[in-house]
């Protein structure tokens, strides 16, 4: 219960910041995708079920406010959380390599899917431009941002888990 409330708050605060303050650190039209980092972090810290659920919720939130269809980003988020959750079992939490690489990798894959569905189908064929100017820069930027965002979520998760343990002892 505590976890659900905290997670919802994290997602909403992220949406608010991502659509306002984060626009200021835009470099040549590219911004880090903090929503994706949150999904990856939850999947690594809490496993496949939590990853898929958080991914679905975060994607749905984006779909409601900015999406051009309902369900597209929810699907992307859910799959990201589900597949990144596979690494949960053998994941050493203080290790930053996995959150950074998975966030960047997920960003590249989702970037390709968006390009293929939204741009390639509308006769924008120069894949090279999109890869060099959008997909790779964004993945790198997201990877760097993951260093910070994962740390924050790691701290939040630690506190939530401590609270959950307390409750378990009470009952």
């Amino acid at each position: 219960m505590i976890n659900a409330v905290v997670t919802a708050a994290v997602l909403i605060v992220n949406l608010i910041l991502q659509s306002t303050l984060l626009q200021l650190i835009e470099i040549r039209g590219v911004m880090p995708d903090t929503m994706l980092i949150i999904i990856v972090s939850y999947a690594l810290l809490r496993g496949q079920n939590a990853g898929a659920a958080v991914g679905f919720a975060a994607g749905m939130l984006y779909d409601i406010f900015f999406g051009s269809s309902i369900g597209f980003y929810a699907l992307m988020g859910m799959l990201t959380g589900y597949f990144c959750g596979i690494c949960h079992k053998n994941f050493y939490r203080d290790n930053l390599v996995l959150p950074v690489t998975l966030s960047a990798l997920a960003n590249v894959i989702i970037g390709f899917i968006i390009y293929a569905t939204g741009f390639l189908l509308e006769n924008r064929y120069n894949v090279f431009y999109y890869v060099v100017r959008v997909i790779i820069p964004q993945a790198v930027y997201t990877g760097i941002a993951a260093l910070v965002v994962y740390r924050i979520l790691y701290g939040i998760n630690k506190k939530v888990e401590a609270k959950e343990k307390q409750r378990r002892k009470l009952f």
């Binding site: 306002t20 900015f66 269809s69 369900g71």
Partner: protein, 284 residues
């Protein structure tokens, strides 16, 4: 929970199929999830508005300190401009009155009408990197409806695509999902202005399907033609920056410098009028 864990894979496959179907069916439509949309809007948009106000204020103050020296000069310049514009405005309003009288005599409807507009603040921008859409702080409670054109002092900004109770989503004309039918104000050559990802970052857009015989030249003003479903005639879009021949040899395309500065856009006007023209498909 145990049941869920046991059938995790099957559950995921079902969810994926369901989401794929839903997203294909809702693509390009403005679908609201009843209640959820409005409720989330009430929770989130005030915060977005507040954060945007604070960042704008900080940005303005910092700029103010840096540019204090230039301000006096700019002030003088602007005062001079106001005088010039006031005299021009007086002259033009005389023309308008004359135009009205003459068109009444000729029984012709006014071509460029005045529209009622509602001022609105831009509170948040799309968090993704692929599109150029933003949220404004007025929604259906303030009389905003889907497909209302959005303008700025300079010219056309875009179109409202989704209204919720407390906010609306606007696609700018730089967004690749937007298209506006336009014409050259000087020659009347028609075309369609669409967003182009490669130009979007520079704040430019593209005018397509210009006839190769068209006499359009660099510097021509581009205005909405009134042929499209959503935009009334005569709203200024921008100026022609470059003209290129298409590969097929039959058409040309132009790079358009919009009048609106999309990098620094914090207030917009929503035109309170939905064009009730039938779309091309319905005419056939």
């Amino acid at each position: 929970m145990k049941f869920f864990n046991e059938y995790k894979r099957q559950f995921m496959i079902l969810a994926v199929i369901a989401l794929v179907i839903i997203s294909i069916f809702t693509a390009g439509k403005t679908i609201k999830i009843a209640g959820v949309d409005d409720a989330l809007g009430f929770i989130i948009t005030p915060f977005q508005g507040a954060v945007t106000s604070v960042t704008n204020w900080v940005g303005d103050s910092v700029n103010g300190i840096i540019e204090r020296k230039n301000l006096e000069e700019e002030n003088k310049e602007l005062k001079k401009q106001i005088e010039e514009l006031t005299s021009e405005n007086e002259r033009l309003s005389l023309y308008e009155a004359e135009n009205k009288r003459l068109s009444e005599l000729l029984d012709v409807a006014q071509k460029y009408q005045d529209y009622d507009t509602v001022g609105s603040r831009v509170i948040a921008k799309d968090t993704g990197v692929w599109y150029d859409s933003f949220l404004i702080d007025k929604g259906s409670m303030d009389g905003i409806k889907n497909n209302m054109p959005v303008i700025n002092a300079g010219g056309l900004v875009g179109r409202v695509v989704k209204t919720s109770a407390a906010y609306s989503n606007v696609y700018s004309i730089l967004d690749t999902r937007s298209s506006v039918s336009v014409k050259s104000a000087r020659t009347g050559d028609a075309g369609v202005v669409t967003g182009d990802y490669e130009l979007m970052e520079q704040g430019l857009c593209r005018m397509e399907y210009i006839d190769s015989d068209a006499e359009i030249v660099e510097g021509d003003e581009i205005i909405t033609s009134g042929l499209s479903e959503y935009y009334p005639e005569g709203i200024s879009v921008g100026y022609v920056k470059e003209i290129h021949q298409d590969e097929n040899g039959l058409t040309k395309y132009a790079v358009i410098q919009p009048k609106v500065d999309f990098k620094h856009i914090d207030t917009v006007l929503v035109v309170q009028e939905v064009q009730d023209k039938p779309s091309g498909a319905e005419v056939n």
